[in-house]
Every structure is written in C-alpha cells, then in structure tokens.
C-alpha cells in the first residue's frame, strides 16, 4: 500500500485517496514541433526500473496536483513536492543520490 504526503495540505494520504497522473516533468510540445518531438511528448516514456518522477492528484482530499519521486523496484518514496516546478528540488535529488550512489538527474523530455 502506497502512502504519499500531500505537499499542500500535509495529509499522509493512502493510495485510494490519490489518483496517479503518470510521468512528471514531461516537456510539452505543441503546434510547430517535429513529429518526433510530438510523439515523444505524447507516448514515449522513461518507464525506468528505479527512480521515477510522477504526477499525483490528491483527489479525495484537497484536490491539488503534486509530484512524487519514487522507486519502481522497491516502492521506496523519496519525497513529494509542489507541481509548480520543472525539476525536482535539490533536497529530493540529494536524498536519491544518497540511496543510489552515482544517480543523476537527467533531462527528461
């Protein structure tokens, strides 16, 4: 059972209180972009075995969207943070690096 703390209202929400919204930090491409860029944005996903950044909505709570950093192999949660950002905050990156030496934030498209 997955438990994430909503960064807005501070509630430790169990997963039935939340709605998963897929990979976070996607770069949005619109009209005028190339076919490959558009395909990448719409369909291609990191789908990593390991650290994953994703969007969640506290749907049965405050209703707001937030981001979470989580491991897809151990289900460890590294932290949650505001959705008003294009990159995970430094403290979350540090936490992940501490658990996975050599890990680095790469630019996800």
């Amino acid at each position: 059972m997955l438990i994430l703390e909503c960064p807005y209202c501070g509630v430790k929400a169990e997963e039935t209180e939340l709605t998963a919204g897929g990979e976070a930090h996607l770069k949005r491409y619109g009209p005028g972009s190339s076919d490959d860029e558009f395909e990448g944005y719409l369909f291609t996903r990191e789908n990593p075995m390991g650290v994953h950044f994703e969007r969640w909505r506290h749907s049965n709570g405050c209703g707001k969207w937030f981001h979470a950093a989580r491991s897809t192999t151990t289900l460890e949660v590294f932290g949650t943070y505001s959705a008003q950002t294009t990159e995970p905050p430094q403290e979350i990156k540090d936490k992940i690096s501490a658990r996975h030496p050599g890990w680095s934030w790469r630019d996800q498209s």
Partner: protein, 418 residues
C-alpha cells in the same frame, strides 16, 4: 550428440507405466551458450519461444538461442488467467488474434504436447447501455472479419451460466458478447510445449542467463552481454514483456509503453459450477473455473509504474467486491493464492511487433494485459518479420504508428481487455 526425442502418446504412457516411469526423457536439453547464433531471442516466455519455434518450423532457421534471466515461462506467461479469445474491434487485431486462436485449436497435435486447450466459450458481459452498444458494434465488426461471435441476451447468459445473478442492482447483466470458440489453455504447458519443440530442433534454451547489455557495431546489432558471457548474433529479438523498457534502454532507444502490475487470484477448489469463461469489463473482473476446480479470478492493473510483481491490495478488493454481486456464491469461497505480473501497456492497448531503431534488432512487446491468447499468432508473425523483414500479420503493429498517429485503438472498445 543428443538422443532423438521420443514422442508422447497413449502407447508411451502404457509403456512407462509398466517400467516405473524410468524411460521419460527431459522435455528439453540443458544448454550452455555458444559464442555465436544466427538469432538470439531474449525472454523465454510464450512469445519468445513461439517466435523461435516458427523461425525453425516455417523458415528453417534453427541456429537460435533463447535467453531467459529466470526460469522458462516464469514471467507473465506463467502468471496469467489464460483467457483466449479473438473478438477484437479493429481489423489488424482480429487478424493476429484469430490466427493465434486458430493455431491454439491444433497446438497440442502440432507440438505433440497437451496444452489443454479448452474452447469452452468466452462471454463478455455488457453491464451498461454503453457496453451493449459497444459489443453489438464489435459483433458486427467480427462478422465482417470472419470471427465467429454473437451478441446474446441476458436470458441466454443465465442459461449458459446459471450461477450468475443477472438482476444487479448495481451492475445488471444486459446481454453479452459471446465467442463460442474462445476459451482457455494451460499456460505453463504452452511454454513447455514450445520449449520442447524448439529444443528438439536443436535450439539452445538457456535459463538463468540475464541480458545486461546490447552490443552494437556501426549502427548494427552485434550481440548481447549476459550473466553467462558475451553472445554474438546476426539478429536479435527482444521479447521481454514488462522489461521491454529496460532492454530498449540497453539498445539505445525508448518505447511508447509503461510497466504496471496486474494481479490475479484463485480460490480453493470446488465442484464444477461454471463451464465458460466470463469477463466483466465494467467492474474489471473476470472469472473461469480451472480443471482442478479453483475459481480463477483476474483484476485490473495498478495505476502507477512498478516492477515489483505485486500489486496494490485494494485492486483485488474492488474486483472481488464487484464480482460478488454478479456471482453471489463466491462470497463463501476462501481465496488460496494471489500474485502479480508486470505488464507492458501501450497508449492504444495494442502490441508492438516491429523493427527497432537499431538495425538487426526487433521488438515484440506491448501485449500488456492480454497477450497469452496471442502467443502462437504473435510467434508466427514475428518469426516472419525477423526472417523476411516483413509480415502481413505484423505490418500494422510497427513502432511508426505512434509517429504517424495510426493507432489500433482497442482500449475504448474492449475496456481492460484480457
């Protein structure tokens, strides 16, 4: 030199019974990897093994290694609820799934291995007005595709499955899409039967051999690095279901899919009470009775990415809660086991059988929650694609469909689809 494989037969059973079963051979050889093969298949699940089998049978290519990081059939092929049907909406789907279903009809004879194919009929319940219209549309599409299905009334549903409560109140049964020649088969036997036939053709099935890197030279595939050393090959087939993203990453490209857990559970064995397969897509539940008497129940996928081979408990709870309304008698059953598998889900819920961006490399994945039924058809088409560079069965399932916006959309029509 290997001793030739003895055929299984009624006579063989009698012979072995008279000599304390001392004469049975290993079903397939233990093999150590050679330095080089014409074709290397990564993943000894049903799709990988079937691909190798039809490469040998239809194209005479037998210098093949099938590499498996765990044990043969230990992935989704050994974890599914074994539903076989071909009542899809889109023409390319109908073609490949019906090819597969028809190959299942004669698979036991073809492989000389009893896969226990049981065409007992698959019933997809319509429990909302929307589903009634959707399934009527599918029945019409199937008529044009030459797939035998029909839309049946709630009354007929009750006749076929007397243990069902069709009156709701929450999910009344309004009718069903009925495919009389759909059914189930023994999943392990499908993997074992193909493995035995591949081994008999001289192919090497190498278990506990994990691929850790894909080696390339001049933009072309050169081979793989594994836990048992480097293996070179001319052509490489990646057939690893939920781990396709990881293998694609090794080969330097990305795939339009995500890996999520899908769960199933079985009850204690009970006397025969239901001789068809029932799917209820509105409530994401489906059920059949195994030959041992267990009720085999499958549920929905988790909503978030995971490689843990176990899903969230609340999904099981939701599935069982909804099924209890339609099958009141199961409320008294004890559930014995539950498990999960990692399924690879694409945006249009259709598979990818395609040349990869790396020359000499091919991918067969994206079967998601419903690829057991497709194993022989997928192997047939993918073998042709790998041998000839093109196959009418796989043409529409290429990676380019995502760039070109040419989806084979089965998600709307078929709901969860298994």
């Amino acid at each position: 030199m290997q001793t030739p494989l003895k055929r299984y037969s009624a006579f063989a059973i009698a012979r072995e019974a008279l000599r304390d079963h001392t004469g049975w051979q290993r079903a397939w050889r233990k093999a150590q990897p050679k330095k080089r093969y014409d074709v290397v298949i990564v993943g000894a699940g049903g799709h990988g093994l079937a691909t190798a089998y039809y490469l040998g049978k239809n194209f005479g290519i037998t210098n093949i290694a099938i590499l498996e990081k765990g044990w043969l059939g230990g992935g989704n092929t050994g974890r599914n609820t074994t539903i076989i049907r071909s009542n899809y909406l889109q023409d390319p789907s109908a073609a490949i799934y019906e090819k597969a279903r028809s190959l299942y009809e004669t698979m036991s004879q073809d492989l000389n291995y009893n896969v226990m194919f049981s065409p007992r009929g698959v019933m997809m319940l319509a429990q909302t007005e929307h589903e009634v219209r959707g399934y009527q549309r599918t029945a019409h599409a199937n008529a044009l595709q030459g797939v035998a299905t029909e839309f049946i009334s709630a009354q007929r549903v009750k006749e076929l499955v007397p243990i069902m409560n069709i009156n709701g109140p929450r999910y009344p049964v309004l009718g069903a899409l009925w495919q009389p020649r759909g059914g189930s088969a023994r999943h392990d036997a499908v993997a074992w039967g193909y493995a035995r036939a591949c081994s008999a053709m001289g192919m090497d099935i190498i278990q506990k051999c994990e691929v850790t890197a894909v080696r390339q030279e001049g933009g072309k595939v050169k081979g793989v690095t594994t836990s048992k050393g480097d293996i070179d090959c001319e052509k490489l087939g990646l057939v690893v279901a939920g781990h396709s993203g990881a293998l694609a990453d090794m080969a330097g490209f990305r795939l339009p899919l995500e890996s999520v857990p899908l769960q199933a559970l079985v009850s204690e064995p009970i006397k025969p009470c239901m001789d068809v397969v029932v799917m209820a897509n509105t409530v994401h539940g489906y059920m059949s009775q195994s030959d041992k008497g267990e009720m085999v129940i499958g549920g929905g996928t988790d909503a978030f990415n995971s490689y843990t081979q176990r899903g969230s408990f609340h999904h099981l709870e939701e599935t069982v809660r909804a099924l209890v309304e339609t099958f009141p008698m199961i409320s008294r059953l004890k559930m014995l086991r539950h498990w999960g598998g990692i399924v690879d889900v694409t945006g249009d819920r259709s598979p990818i059988l395609s040349k990869a961006p790396l020359e000499g490399c091919f991918v067969n994945c994206g079967w998601g929650t419903g690829g057991f039924k497709a194993i022989p058809g997928s192997g047939w088409g993918f073998a042709e694609l790998m041998a000839r560079g093109q196959s009418p069965l796989t043409d529409e399932f290429g990676l380019n469909r995502f760039t070109e916006g040419r989806f084979i959309d089965e998600s709307v029509a078929a709901g969860v689809a298994h």
